[in-house]
Structures are given as structure tokens and as C-alpha cells.
Assembly symmetry: C3
Homo-oligomer: 274 residues x 3
């Protein structure tokens, strides 16, 4: 059965009540915004990056967010250490492969992290396409177009990594290989604020902390974030005011408002062929 607005909001209430500690190894551009998005949601963010302490810190956290936006060698090492420990102690983690296709270094780092069994991977269409190409499935995804291509790429990445995969854009897609969720929330102005994709990733991280079904957690996180963005855009004069309004909207979001905006469709799909 498809996730209802009520079911999503129950999970938001769980985040607000339990205030899970979400460990972020993320980029320098969005650290402040991401922390504020998690606080506005009701979670407890921590930005902890040093290889000297990430293993200890992830062990006391309820979820881990790994984002390669401004990666550098020490951060890649710290991310791997944190992920290995997360996998050992059973902490769910989400990978945001920012700009993975842009440079060989980024492809190598993202590929190595994707191979370490993330619970969820979230990216935009070209990032997920890039990951799918790297996975060497024997067919080019370059030749495909639009949302069909994106969904196909997502299915390939599910197959090669075992992760739930989310592609965000004008429409957000989420798949675990057999379920396909489509979210029609958000607002175009959100693309003019830096790092809102990274905030979406962190928000999913908070839902992973309280919801064992990673597909449901991912849909819930994107739904809450998209609805908050939509409400914020209605009260914004531009991208500057949107940034503050989005945090206010996340903080104030109530079930009635959420249900009125939530636009979600779920279907069954065939897994990608090996």
C-alpha cells in the first residue's frame, strides 16, 4: 500500500519526539544550512569530520550523512572510516555524490563510497546517471533521456549498490528496485538556493534514524522537505528570503498543511536486469 500523508507525518512526529542524533560529514558550503534544516525539523545535527573521531562519533549517532561536495583526501578517508563503523554497528547512512561526474577524483571517491553499501543514495539526475555509468552495466545510459532514463539509471544503481536510490528534480523519484515513488512537491525557486539538495539528503538521514524501511524514510524525508519548500516559496520575494522561510516552514509544518500539499504516487516496477 502506498504511503499516505498521515503515515509520512507520523514519521515526522517520531523525528520531533526522538530528536535523533544525525552525524554529518558534509561539505563546507552547506554545513550551516544543513545543521539548521535538521534543527528546524526537530533532529539533533552534528558536523564531525576528523578521522581522529568519526568512528567514535558515528557509533553514538542514529544516522550518518556523507556528502562529497567539497571533498579532499582527509575527508574521503574520514568518510570511509565512518561508513565502515556505521556498517559494523548497524547505523543507517546516506550518500550524496555531489557533482560525481565532474572530475575523475570525484568519480573515484563516490564510487568507493557507493561500494560500501549505503542505505540510501540521493542525487540529481546527472549524478545518478554518472553512478549508473560507473557501475559498468554494459549499456550506456547516456543515450536515454528524461525521467525514463533517470528511473532506469536509478534501478541500475539499486542493483549494483543495494541502496534505495532517490533522484531529485522537478519531480523526485525514489526506488528500491521494486517500488517506485514519485513526488510532485517543491518549487523551482529552490534551485536558486545553494545546497538544498544537500539539505534534502540530511533530512532523509533524520528519517532513516527513526524508520527502518529505507524506502519509506526516503519518501517521507523528501515529502516533508518538498512541502516545506513549496510553502516557503509562497512567502518569498526571492532566493534570499526563501532560505529563511524554508527553515520556518520546516519548523512550523503541521499535519493539516502537509496533507493538503502532499502529492505522491507509488507503483510497482521490475528490478533492473543483472
Amino acid at each position: 500500500m502506498s504511503l499516505t500523508a498521515e503515515a509520512v507525518f507520523q514519521r515526522l512526529n517520531a523525528v520531533r519526539e526522538r530528536q535523533p542524533l544525525v552525524h554529518n560529514i558534509t561539505n563546507f558550503v552547506v554545513m550551516n544550512n544543513t545543521a539548521n534544516a535538521l534543527l528546524a525539523l526537530g533532529a539533533s545535527p552534528a558536523m564531525v569530520h576528523s578521522s581522529d573521531e568519526v568512528e567514535d562519533f558515528v557509533a553514538i549517532s542514529q544516522a550518518l550523512v556523507v556528502n562529497i561536495g567539497t571533498l579532499y583526501s582527509e575527508q574521503v578517508a574520514a568518510s570511509k572510516l565512518a561508513v565502515i563503523r556505521a556498517n559494523t554497528v548497524g547505523t543507517p547512512w546516506i550518500l550524496d555524490p555531489v557533482g560525481v561526474g565532474a572530475t575523475p577524483y570525484r568519480r573515484t571517491a563516490a564510487g568507493a563510497l557507493a561500494a560500501l553499501k549505503p542505505t540510501v543514495i540521493r542525487g540529481n539526475g546527472s549524478e545518478i546517471l554518472s553512478l549508473a555509468q560507473q557501475s559498468g552495466q554494459g549499456r550506456g545510459v547516456d543515450s536515454l533521456h528524461g525521467s525514463d532514463a533517470a528511473v532506469d539509471a536509478a534501478r541500475q544503481v539499486v542493483m549494483t549498490t543495494g541502496a534505495v536510490v532517490a533522484i531529485t528534480g522537478a519531480v523526485d523519484f525514489v526506488t528500491d528496485g521494486t517500488r517506485l515513488g514519485e513526488l510532485h512537491n517543491g518549487h523551482p525557486l529552490m534551485a536558486r538556493v545553494t545546497g538544498l539538495g544537500c539539505s534534502a539528503t540530511a533530512i532523509i538521514g533524520a528519517f532513516l534514524a527513526i524508520e527502518p524501511d529505507a524506502f519509506s524514510a526516503t519518501v517521507a524525508g523528501l515529502a516533508v522537505f518538498g512541502v516545506a519548500g513549496e510553502i516557503a516559496a509562497q512567502h518569498s520575494a526571492g532566493p534570499g528570503s526563501l532560505q529563511a522561510a524554508l527553515l520556518d516552514a520546516l519548523y512550523n509544518l503541521d499535519q493539516e498543511t502537509f496533507s493538503r500539499h502532499f502529492r505522491y504516487r507509488e507503483s510497482r516496477i521490475e528490478p533492473a536486469k543483472g
Copy 2:
């Protein structure tokens, strides 16, 4: 005699007139906000981190702020170098031991910095309790609760470090071992914005630059910041708008408004036993 609203505001005027250069070695999450809080207050912030230049920079600054929020080995080294030079040239400095209890690495770094004679240490209750436990006073502070426990821990940290100690929370406590200040300003919404504790630390830094009595400087900094936060919260729809409103309130704060909000009580206490 207890600090009056007028006495605090005189110090704010001194900051605004002298625009002291405040050297910050702080975490990546709050760098922007902290710089903006200092600018809105009337000080001149500089964020200078490299071990290649911190010694030179601290020597031309009027105060130093050391914050371990996103510490890493190079930053710990740079912090120690800056602190040693600050002590040599007589620059006051404040330590913010963010999350000190969370990992062994953080405990070691914060302990080493606390041993280097900070002028002031500011933390939340659990951070100061953690520092007190490390100081090895032979009795557990874990077993104590609430503000009595916090004040007791603060007194122990005063005794072992020689610093003025501030504990911020719903009520802020400041002590130098014999005086105890209690501030009842601020607003609960401030806890939903990342790094406002770090901003409070930086603001105290600015007051240390113009006020040789570290206890008075600390009370003044927390009072101004708490009152500004309180005013800002009245005009905010959530944590996003609070962040901007807080900077506006700091910038616009006048003596009449400050005096109307200032809620402070000062008493004499016994120093902690050695």
C-alpha cells in the same frame, strides 16, 4: 556591587566605538554567523586558522576565540600556537569546548586547551560537567543534577583552570569562583538555530577586548546577546527568520530597550575546595 544595565551598556558602547579586532579560530558550521554577529555588535572579526599565520595574527588582535566544534589535527595545533602567543603578549582568550564529552579526541583537545589558561570558558551544562570530570577533582559530578550541579562543576573548572566559567542554557551562569552571575534572558527558539552558543562565545570575546575584568566582560556579552535574542524571537516566525532578526537586533540595540529586558542577579559564593 552587581553589574547594572547601564554598566553593561557602557561596555557595549566601548565595543562599538573601539571596534576591537577579534581573532577567531572556530568551526566551519558557524564561521559566517559568528563573523556576522561580531560585525552586528560593532566589533571587527577575523577568521584566521592556519598554523602558518595564527601567531602573527593573534599578536595584532585584541582578543582570541578558540572553538573546537569541527576540530582536526591541524586546527588543534594552530589553536595551541595562537593561545601560547596570546598568553605571551597578554591577549585575552576564550575557549568554547563544543561537544567535549562526545569523543576521546575531543576530550583530549579540550583538556589540553583548558590547561593553557583561558581567560574565559563558555559551554553548555554538559560540556562544563565534562570538563569538571576531566579535571579529576575526586568526586563525580554525574550524580548531581540541575543548576546546582552545573554551578558546582563551573566552580571546579574555575579552580583547575583559573578561567571565568560561563554555562549557558535556559538560565546562564557566570562565575569566577567568588562571584556568581545569573542571567535570565534569551528565548527557547534560539536552541533551534545552529551555533548560537558559538556566537555567544565570540560576543564575549569582543567584550574581553575592551574590559579587563573577565567576569564583567562575560556577563556583559551574555546579557547583550540574550537580550538581542529575546527581542529577535518576538519578531520571528521560526528559526530561519530568527537568525536574521538576531543580527538586526544586535545592530539596533539601544540602552532603553536593553535596560527594559536585562534580568540579572549577582551573588557571592564560596570557591570550590581543592
Copy 3:
């Protein structure tokens, strides 16, 4: 012929249409704001710092911004690598020598970068004076005062580096050694928000990506940013609200509003004597 409001706005339209990719190696304080300023303008920002990928990334970018605000050894190395590649592939780049006069380390790093043929250098008066002193032109610029001194220093830096030089302040000056532009836009409140000089540098970077005449690109960038700041200040209650309003103003700026505010004068000057 002097640049007209229409000519400047045509260039803004070109940025909005082509959305150039602007590679930033910048400081940690302003990364978020700078990215947001570029997005609000209509450009595509990327913050990419690692020496493992800057050479690859600059080669796919249309402009490079190098800002030494929170420099450290790895960033200096990465900046040099990026600049050398930019020069090889013909990507224009702009240098922001933040605080160059403050420490020997900063002077060395800024001097080394300035020697690598930046397309444009933007700084405040004291930063450009400091660069001029380093250039060893045999006469002290310390003894000069006010805008004459600033313009004289700018001409010296033009002569020694070959760059277009911009000095921003209450009045902005731009010179390529023979043309001198004077911009009377902006607002004093802008000095109370951290990193707006850095944002101005990044905005110039975006104009360099679409305008081969570096002098015109620099004037256009400063004009658009100054006018946006001026409009934003009219709608701001302080430095906190200014920050958001500035992004909104950049995003919403139309030609009629821009033309009404644009205050620019251009004259011919003699190049500095060698």
C-alpha cells in the same frame, strides 16, 4: 565611450542566459553566501578546492575565483595549480587578496598569486595599497591618502601584474591603467555583513565568463552588485535582513530599476611610470 546602464544590463542578461560555471576557491566564511550570490545573479557556482581535482575542474569552468580569506598551505597549492591551468586553457580568473597586509604568510601567498597574471584583482583600499608596496615600485604609497592614494596604488598594481584592478569602498574604482571607472553605488550597511567584498569578487568572476574586456566585466559586476545592495538596504532593518534582501534584489533586478540607480563615471588616466 563610457559604459552605459544599458550596456551593463546587456551583460547581466548574458550571465542569466548562459549561466556560466564559475569555479571558486574561496574562504570558509563566505562559501555559502558567495554561492548564493552567484545563483541569485544567474550563474552556476562550484566550490572545488582539492588539489586532487582543481586542475580538472577549472578546465570545464568559464571563470575562476581565487580568494585567500582563510588560506592554508593545501589551499595555496590548489590555488596555484588551478591558476596555472586556467592560464593554460585561457580561463579568466580574479584574485581577492583578503587581508593581504595582515601577516607575512598572507603577503607571500597573495604576492605569489598576483605574479601569476590574474585577469582582475579586487580588494579594499588597504589591500591594494599593500600589494602596491610589495611590488617594490621604489616609492612608498603609505604617505599618500584617500582616493588619490588608492588610485595611484591601483595603477602601480596594474603595471606590475597586468591585471585590471578594482578597489571597493564607499566609492569603487576600476582601472586597467588607461581607463578609470568610478562607481557611486552600494550602501554603508553592506560593510556590516561579512564577506560582501568576497561576493563582489565572485560576481565579477561571473561577468568575466561572458565578457572578454576585463575592465567592462569588472565595472558591470560591481555596478550590478552595488545597485542590488543599495536596493536591499532600503528594505532592511539591519545587517541580518540585508543579507537575504541582497540575494532577492540580485535575483529580481530589472533594467529599469538598474538604470535608475546606476551612478558611474569613466575617465582616461596616465599609466603609472615604470
